[in-house]
């Protein structure tokens, strides 16, 4: 039976007019207008919303939306070397299978009983991240790596009661923007210069800037430009000598081959888990982690949910719940630490699946494999006449800078030429890091074969000739 519009909506069970009438009768209302008695007519919309005609049938909708998204060209159809904070790694089928299950996909902030599975899966995620990071405390994911870094720094500010943040100047411009905005009320951000030849933190400059007002030193390892900070232990020691906290951003997929930052002195470790089983999704696959030692003064500064294991009335059962819930804004609004809300739990569950599938050997092999492929790509591209690898003396993981100043062409021009040849060239750094000239950030992962890398080198040589 049609309603006044002639439509019964499949997503709205009670849109059938007979049901509506029965329910209105049950509550003694003449029409749904009765329920809006408190909405004054002065702010009532006196017309229909002006929206495009709907795609009422499922097929019309599919046809319309697919028509739009099919205009996209993907990093599968093209050979892509884009990284810079979002990376193309293989996503195991089981990751997609688990995060597509309606029980996980359509649940929300469940309680420990009817949604025990969510608590256990997320606690297992933090447990496996703890193994990867060699740290005892890991949060339920925050939104993304930007938020994780910004919150880590505010945690460091609260822990030390100090205001100065020393942040590596090679952090991406976008992340620096987020950090500056987020630290504005409490802290001042000073950028740490890096050595022009190695791209590593300038230790003399660090020493000169450290003071009794320094809350934290923040650097990334590997850095945004793919460089492995080989003096990380010295940086941590210098920070500690001044009573500052050492905060390190890390790409978790590097940790089968690179030392977890805790082992060289990091106090807070943060990053983005997108590489661990999330499709790139045009930037929709991000989730942030923050990890610390199990020390009360650190734990109590987390704004995020922290899950813990707890006994139940039945011996041998694992129950779960929130650790130190009183820290949070859910418990005490503005008296809590920053805020907590819906963030990216499903990606935490997915990263757990990824780490369980990969196991210790998988993480070692993928880390080593990426390093080797990266070195190969650097060597091949470095051999192209007039193309330079600015930080070739340093060790790289997954990403590296390629400079085209010797060619006399802009990165934009070169990338257009690559595009017509089926390649997404590296991310253009010329606006973000003008001091690097016409440079691009190239990314190599386990998905690239020797043939892919040879094709890139060959094509680059052709378009830079």
């Amino acid at each position: 039976m049609p309603d006044e519009n002639g439509i019964v909506y499949p997503y709205i069970p009670n849109s059938a007019p007979s049901v509506k009438a029965e329910m209105l009768r049950a509550v003694g209302a003449a029409s749904v207008d009765d329920f809006y008695a408190d909405v004054p007519s002065s702010i009532r919309l006196q017309r229909k919303l002006d929206l495009p005609p709907p795609c009422l049938s499922e097929w019309e909708l599919v046809r319309h939306v697919e028509g739009l998204i099919n205009k996209n060209k993907t990093a599968r159809e093209y050979l892509s070397f884009l990284g810079g904070g979002c990376w193309q790694h293989h996503v195991p089928a089981v990751c997609d299978e688990i995060n597509s299950r309606g029980e996980f996909l359509t649940a929300y902030a469940g309680e420990p009983y009817e949604d025990h599975g969510r608590f256990q899966a997320l606690w297992e995620y933090t447990s496996m991240m703890g193994e990867l990071l060699n740290m005892d405390v890991v949060n339920v994911p925050t939104y993304d790596g930007f938020q994780a870094a910004a919150t880590s720094l505010r945690m460091a500010g609260r822990i030390t009661g100090r205001r100065q943040m020393l942040v590596s100047s090679l952090v991406s411009a976008d992340k620096r923007s987020k950090i500056r905005d987020y630290l504005k009320p409490d802290m001042a951000v000073d950028l740490l210069p890096c050595e022009p030849d190695t791209g590593l933190i300038d230790l003399a400059a660090l020493e000169a800037r450290l003071s009794s007002g320094t809350a934290a030193v923040y650097f990334e390892n590997p850095s945004y430009l793919g460089l492995i900070e080989t003096r990380a232990d010295q940086i941590a020691r210098m920070a500690h000598d001044h009573g500052a906290v050492c905060v390190v951003g890390v790409d978790p997929i590097s940790l089968g081959v690179l030392t977890p930052p805790a082992d060289y002195g990091a106090d807070i470790v943060c990053g983005d888990i997108q590489p661990l089983g999330m499709h790139m999704q045009f930037g929709g696959g991000h989730a942030g982690f923050i990890a610390t030692r199990d020390e009360e003064n650190y734990v109590m500064e987390f704004p995020s949910r922290l899950f813990g294991v707890a006994p139940t009335t039945v011996e041998g059962e694992y129950g779960f719940g929130d650790v130190a819930y009183d820290r949070t804004s859910f418990a005490h609004r503005e008296q809590g630490k920053e805020w907590v809300g819906t963030a990216a739990a499903l990606w935490g569950i997915t990263a757990g699946v990824y780490l369980a599938l990969m196991g210790p050997r998988g993480m070692v092999e993928i880390g080593e494999g990426i390093m080797v492929r990266t070195a190969y790509a650097i060597k091949k591209i470095g051999n192209i006449p007039a193309v330079r690898i600015p930080f070739s003396r340093s060790h790289h993981f997954k990403e590296f800078v390629v400079n085209f100043d010797g060619i006399g062409k802009s990165v934009a021009t070169i990338n257009q030429a690559l595009l017509t040849r089926g390649i997404f060239g590296g991310h253009d750094l010329s606006a973000e890091f003008p001091q690097l000239g016409q440079s691009a950030l190239y990314c190599v992962t386990e998905m690239h074969t020797q043939a892919d890398l040879d094709q890139l080198a060959r094509t680059l040589e052709e378009v830079t000739r």
């Binding site: 009670n14 709907p54 996980f104 929300y108 900070e229 929709g284 080797v372």
Partner: protein, 520 residues
């Protein structure tokens, strides 16, 4: 002789899956592998050798991470079992999580976002290769502009609270731009607005003033008048508030704040009941935000990824995060040239797959459909309220005898006084009947609270069933409360002893901490 078998009871005989699943790290079988990674070809190896061994000793990991070693099917099975120990909208009458708008997330929208044309897009690709997704983002902005009445919308925030923070950051930028950053250091909110309004304001450096309702439950206009001053940066307010009560004097609230020089930001987490009825702009707001995972149906994912959308007037558009998606008549592009922008809120442009879902959802309904969503959500809510208020021990404080919009904050105060059974315990018992139940956000201004929001996704029969479950539990509270005090009985696990979670000596946030603290 066989024992008599009781007949099937009136309520569902639910039992949650109970797989007694060990922690995954206990499932490790040394030598097993869940997936193989591509091996480096000999040609690469020959060219560059063992790269990792050239690393300085202290940056080279010595011992592989102690992750579980499992075959693929065992990983799959473990997580499938855990998923069965979870409920979601797909399985339960998910009306018990008020303020969260637990509606049906159409499967077709999930399917659309799983296309490689979405999943395999890198955000830094050349704009010519991502015209489809940019067009969807652009179109979604146009739809949300019309739905909210605002002039521009950013889709960048990762969720609702991130959207509130984004709005506060723009408020801060606006006052700084006018040279009043130091003077305007207070933000006003109400106790029945989401806690993140207060918390985000504080995080952004503001002093927070929280207004409490009058006896009738309506936000107190006199309290607002007393609170505003030349120090007021903004009012952050929800309407209808988490009580489901619509503030009929909202225009006056906005006027009072505006005349003091402050801005008004509308938390539209509770927009589901007013789509096409009234808009942020119509009440004079300068900023607003929607939770696309609530009102606009993207799945909640156990707590994200979600998506937030912030709307602003033209006057504030200059402060929106970068980039904005623009259209020049032939192509869509990302505009970073916005010198007054607050900068970045998250990497790239937003939770793109959820923007596609929200777009598809709006397009599946259109103007009449959105209005139908609102009206049925409100009808469902008032119908359920009528049922719940018949239950002994339950009440709906404030605005007595009046209707609500899309949700109701109830109180079990009478039940607690008469039986000693508390709201959270009702939730433990509700799990025994295959449904989710949540008390409310803190603080419990309404004693023994329960917030139900039945959205448009549930049938009359669903609502009747949920009310019968509550009625049954209330009956138990009066007749034999022990059943509730020892609940849950049909869940994956039994009553959990939470005290250790607040004790630094005992809490265990990871498996390794648990082993250390329990001497394993």
């Amino acid at each position: 002789m066989s024992q008599p078998i009781s007949p099937k009871p009136a309520l569902r005989r639910f039992h949650q899956a109970q797989w007694d699943e060990p922690v995954i790290l206990e499932l490790s079988q040394p030598g097993q592998r869940g997936i193989l990674v591509p091996q480096v070809e000999a040609g690469i190896q020959a060219e560059v050798g063992d790269v990792a061994s050239a690393l300085p000793d202290h940056v080279r990991r010595k011992t592989p991470p102690a992750l579980p070693e499992m075959s693929q099917i065992h990983v799959l099975r473990h997580y499938c079992r855990l998923s069965q120990e979870n409920l979601g909208v797909d399985l339960n009458i998910d009306v018990g999580q008020g303020t969260c708008t637990m509606k049906y997330s159409p499967k077709v929208n999930d399917q659309l976002t799983r296309s490689q044309k979405m999943t395999e897009l890198h955000p830094l690709q050349d704009e010519s290769t991502v015209q489809g997704i940019l067009e969807i983002m652009y179109r979604l902005e146009q739809l949300l502009k019309e739905i909210s009445g605002m002039d521009r919308i950013t889709l960048q925030p990762g969720a609702g609270s991130a959207a509130i923070y984004t709005n506060v950051a723009m408020i801060r930028a606006y006052h700084a731009w006018r040279g009043q950053a130091d003077q305007r250091d207070q933000i006003i909110t109400t106790i029945f607005s989401h806690p993140s309004n207060a918390a985000c304001a504080k995080t952004a450096g503001y002093k927070v003033i929280t207004l409490y309702p009058g006896d009738d439950g309506y936000p107190d206009l006199e309290a607002l008048k007393a609170a505003v001053s030349e120090r007021t940066a903004a009012l952050l307010i929800t309407n209808p508030e988490d009580t489901g009560i619509f503030n009929p004097r909202i225009e006056e609230f906005v006027r009072v704040v505006h005349s003091a020089g402050g801005l008004c930001s509308y938390d539209q987490a509770n927009a589901n009941g007013i789509l096409g009825i009234t808009r942020a702009r119509d009440a004079g707001f300068d900023l607003c935000h929607f939770n696309l995972h609530k009102t606009f149906s993207t799945p909640h994912g156990c707590g994200g990824p979600a998506a937030g959308a912030c709307g602003v007037t033209q006057e504030l558009a200059r402060f929106l995060p970068v980039p904005m998606v623009e259209f020049d008549g032939s192509r869509y592009y990302l505009d970073y040239n916005r010198p007054d922008s607050i900068g970045k809120i998250r990497p790239f442009y937003g939770v793109a797959q959820n923007l596609v879902r929200a777009y598809a959802w709006i397009m599946s309904l259109g103007a009449e459909g959105l209005r139908e969503v609102a009206e049925v959500a409100v009808l469902n809510n008032n119908y359920l309220m009528n049922q719940v208020l018949k239950i002994r021990g339950a009440s709906a404080p404030y605005a007595r005898g009046k209707r609500r919009i899309e949700q109701v904050r109830y109180s079990w105060e009478q039940l607690a006084q008469e039986t000693g059974v508390h709201s959270d315990e009702i939730g433990y018992r509700a799990a025994d009947f295959g449904t989710h139940y949540w008390t409310s956000h803190h603080p419990f201004i309404v004693p023994e609270p329960m917030t139900l929001e039945p959205t448009e996704s549930y049938s009359k029969a669903d609502l009747d069933e949920y009310a019968r479950i509550l009625e049954h539990i209330a009956g138990e509270a009066y007749a034999h409360p022990d059943v509730i005090k020892t609940a849950p009985h049909n869940s994956t696990v039994h009553h959990t002893e939470h005290e250790c979670l607040d004790d630094p000596q005992q809490w265990a946030i990871t498996w390794r901490a648990y082993k250390r603290k329990t001497g394993q």
